[in-house]
Symmetry: C2
Subunit: 198 residues, 2 copies
């Protein structure tokens, strides 16, 4: 589930809220799965992975990550990203572009304190994306952390990222492949929309 | 559905074939949906969208597109891409990196001739991603093409792209978030694998 808070009355967001409701009504699972594509200035490679979208607050999209992970390093060096959600239950794709940055420490601390201790043990124990000998060792690290660490204290290396899209495309699949595509682009504070060919 | 042909006996591919079978057995819909993230040298932006993965032939992944589309232009200028499949029915993500290029004209012609005429009418009639006045106009263009054009002849501006991953990560979700991640990287023609922290 995504927490939709501080809803706003701009056309692409009204569309988004409606599609979200439709997806849930159609039994969409993992509705919060969002792909984030980023760029590594170090290797000149595009990279991409799923994250869990936790909040859409006004026009801010928020998810959480380790701040020392490869994606966090990529965001620091190249802050433009692409985010895509695909809800197969309604055959709808939402494509966004944005600049990304960290949320405030206060937000992280408050959010972390209220999470399940088990989730926090993963956040605390994992050096995200760093090599490890085996999956068993991952489990061991997690269990040791669960028993010995303060699970209410947000570590410095963990927290949220937020982005505000400057481009949002709604792509609706069509069984004949005549897909319906509507693009919204923010221009000097105002959304301009157009249809695109499939 | 993805056409798995010329199967090979390399460890990440054996894993991939098995996961594909598991996903289908678990009722995965849109199993062929694959995200392709690319980079625009013109705007320095990361871009991303879903495509339909049609073939995995040996270690080649093949999908089709308009050759004048934004993604085709992006591939031409920056040929490295990231590809991600997420099968929610088995909570499994497959993350790949590769260099991408066009398949042969012969392959395109043969493939096109055997497709449904309705699909070909979309491929012929659509100037992919170019602005159009309305969705009705998209439908009109399609219907006119369906009636008047040779639907067996592959246009120059349409065809396949193929890529061979040099990096494949298998990400298996865990209900406690202690996700299992195994990364295969091709090094001088041989796959090297390691586990990554969640």
């Amino acid at each position: 589930m995504i927490n939709l808070i501080n809803k706003i009355d701009e056309e692409p967001y009204v569309k988004l809220y409606k599609l979200y409701d439709n997806a849930l009504e159609s039994g969409q699972s993992n509705v919060e799965a969002m792909l984030i594509a980023s760029y590594s200035n170090e290797t000149n490679e595009v990279d991409a992975r799923y994250v869990n979208l936790k909040f859409i607050s006004s026009d801010n999209f928020i998810f959480f990550s380790n701040y020392k992970s490869p994606k966090a390093n990529q965001f620091n060096a190249h802050d433009q990203i692409s985010a895509v959600m695909y809800w197969n239950a309604i055959d709808t794709q939402i494509r966004m572009k944005a600049k990304i940055h960290k949320v405030s420490k206060e937000f992280n601390n408050k959010y972390f304190t209220n999470r399940q201790p088990e989730k926090n043990a993963v956040a605390i124990s994992s050096k995200q994306s760093i090599e490890i000998d085996s999956y068993e060792k991952v489990i061991n690290n997690y269990e040791k952390t669960l028993e010995t660490k303060n699970l209410k204290k947000c570590p410095e290396y963990w927290g949220g990222f937020e982005f505000t899209p400057y481009s949002i495309e709604f792509w609706q699949g069509n069984e004949k492949r005549i897909n319906k595509r509507e693009l919204f682009v923010k221009n000097e504070g105002k959304w301009v929309s157009k249809f695109l060919q499939p």
